[in-house]
């Protein structure tokens, strides 16, 4: 065991966070188009017969159908029928709909998982120690980097594609299962050894292909790749809760006081109720002052589509769609641009990923500690409930990263001595906004200067923790002592932290 630069204990054999990025890691493995046109098949069984599949292989998936995805479950059920074992799955995220994978984990069909986010029964099974190997939790940008650098080698990418044409070109913009942008499928398309498009709609010609048919080996037509209603997962409405609204108002005031609302600014915010309320406040300020944003990036919601169509935002740089309004906007708004996972957040993307051009990002937290480390991977008992997604990518890239959270949630203080698990290192987190006060990372002396005289209640982060303790009492913090069930991998491939079972 050794410790990384933020004091987290890691097993041997991994590069600790804070150690130099070895030059080899930024090399690219060669990619080349497939020599022949894709072969069209009509069942997953036929695809499995055509591919030479072996135990121990890695299959990848994307999560653009979110909690409505059918493809990962169907493919892995076929793998099980074929008697394959010891497989690693590399989906960009896993949702509650992936519950049918749990028995496959328990029976050793699936023994490894590499993903950016997991929530639901699969996350519970991993937390309970049922997966044989530790899961690897990447960031959205880090997954693209890992695939392109060969750290994550994919034998077969099974990509859900809502519409495919006769040449194998694919798009998510149209089709009965249209889910919009397919940005997270892009590294898999270009770097997996074999690529299978799984679709439920084949047309003569796709006008604006997002996925290039020249890299596809097989196209398989099945009755349905997913349930579109599942795309809209989580909160997509502005919070009406007074504490959330107070936090949002203070966050918008802070962003303004920090001088970030200037003509041509850029931003990213999440799809949570408080984040949506922050955007509503920023929009009000923009209208009052006649300001325009150059772009907004990330997961796109109806709120940003409205701002684009109202002329308040110049363009949307969209890596995934969080609701069906965003999906529909793609086909009617030319300034609604699809971007790839690498373009969005990979640290190796040249000249620079979109996240590096952000003026500010508004992010959530399950926990945040006195060093400003943020946890969105586990709950306070150490169970996996999420993962970075783009959290660590945008926190690093944006000029100012703002975390918004209630100071106390269901009696638990959210500000604490040390977070249960580090998802985003404190060096990338600049400001914490709670309903009881705002804390600025001491390394951002420039921000502290700007906020002096702003009237905002800026206090040391320790004062927020102590205030929380006067409300809730000091919680006992149990330390999980079981085996390591997951590794949290930073976007550069180094290890930030581990998750242990109880």
């Amino acid at each position: 065991m050794k410790r990384n630069s933020i004091g987290r204990e890691l097993p041997d054999g991994y590069r600790p966070y804070g150690e130099e990025h070895p030059a080899a890691a930024s090399q690219r493995i060669a990619m080349k188009p497939t020599p022949t046109a894709p072969i069209f098949l009509t069942s997953l069984s036929d695809v499995f017969s055509a591919l030479e599949l072996r135990d121990g292989m890695t299959f990848s998936f994307h999560h653009h159908l979110r909690d409505g995805d059918f493809v990962a479950n169907l493919v892995m059920a076929e793998a099980d029928r074929r008697g394959l074992r010891d497989l690693t799955i590399a989906p960009s995220s896993l949702f509650p709909c992936h519950k049918p994978l749990v028995p496959l984990i328990e029976r050793g069909v699936i023994t490894g998982i590499v993903t950016n986010y997991m929530n639901g029964p699969v996350a519970d099974a991993v937390s309970a120690g049922k997966l044989q190997k530790p899961a690897i939790m990447d960031t959205h940008g880090g997954r693209a980097r890992a695939i392109e650098a060969g750290d994550l080698s994919i034998d077969v990418a099974f990509l859900a594609v809502p519409t495919v044409d006769r040449r194998g070109n694919g798009t998510g913009r149209v089709g009965k299962s249209a889910c919009g942008v397919l940005g997270y499928a892009d590294p898999d398309l270009h770097y997996a050894k074999k690529v299978v498009f799984v679709t439920d709609e084949i047309v003569e010609r796709v006008d604006h292909p997002d996925l290039d048919g020249n890299f596809v080996d097989y196209v398989v037509l099945i009755p349905s790749i997913g349930d579109r209603a599942g795309i809209v997962s989580g909160t997509t409405r502005i919070t009406r809760e007074p504490v959330g609204l107070k936090i949002a108002r203070d966050a918008a005031a802070l962003i303004d006081a920090a001088g970030l609302l200037k003509e041509g600014f850029s931003m990213q915010t999440g799809a949570g109720g408080t984040s949506l309320a922050v955007v509503a406040d920023i929009r009000r300020i923009m209208v009052e002052r006649g300001l325009h944003a150059r772009f907004a990036s990330g997961g796109i919601t109806a709120q940003y589509v409205e701002m684009l169509e109202a002329g308040l935002v110049g363009s949307l740089r969209d890596v995934q769609d969080f609701d069906l309004d965003a999906v529909a906007s793609l086909t009617r708004n030319p300034q609604h641009e699809a971007i790839t996972a690498a373009q969005y957040g990979s640290p190796d993307f040249r000249p620079a990923p979109v996240v590096a051009g952000l003026d500010f990002v508004v992010l959530g937290a399950t926990e945040i500690d006195l060093d400003f480390n943020v946890n969105v991977t586990t709950d306070s008992e150490g169970r996996i409930i999420g993962g970075s997604g783009g959290h660590a990518d945008t926190a690093h890239g944006a000029k100012v990263s703002v975390v918004v959270t209630n100071l106390v949630k269901a009696r638990l203080p959210i500000v604490m001595e040390k977070v249960t698990c580090v998802t985003t290192p404190g060096s990338d987190v600049d400001v914490l906004v709670t309903e009881r006060g705002i804390a600025v990372n001491p390394k951002r002396a420039d921000l502290l200067d700007r906020l002096r005289g702003s009237g905002l209640n800026v206090v040391p982060i320790r004062a927020l923790m102590e205030l929380a303790h006067t409300i809730t009492g000091v919680p006992v913090r149990p330390r999980p002592s079981g085996r390591i069930v997951a590794l949290v991998r930073y976007r550069d491939g180094s290890i930030l932290d581990v998750v242990s079972s109880k």
């Binding site: 306070s380 008992e381 269901a410 009696r411 638990l412 809730t472 006992v476 149990p478």
Partner: protein, 85 residues
Amino acid sequence: MKIGSAGTLESNDALVTVQEGVGIVVSIDSIVDAFFHDRIEAEVRGELARMKKQNVHVTIQDKGALDFTLRARVRTAIERMEGSQ
């Protein structure tokens, strides 16, 4: 058998049920059990002591109630059990 209850299962509240029994028995089902079990039990026992109750069984279904909420719910449940309110 006299029974009383107070509170709700809303977030940050607790549903407290009390009934007459032999000695004091406290059973706790809390979403923050791992962090506050002992503190919740101490608050409940403290309130019973203040009310000079020595023979009551208490069931707490806690959704993250703060200490003053727990004390108030226990007190009201006891008063309801005794039919004093």
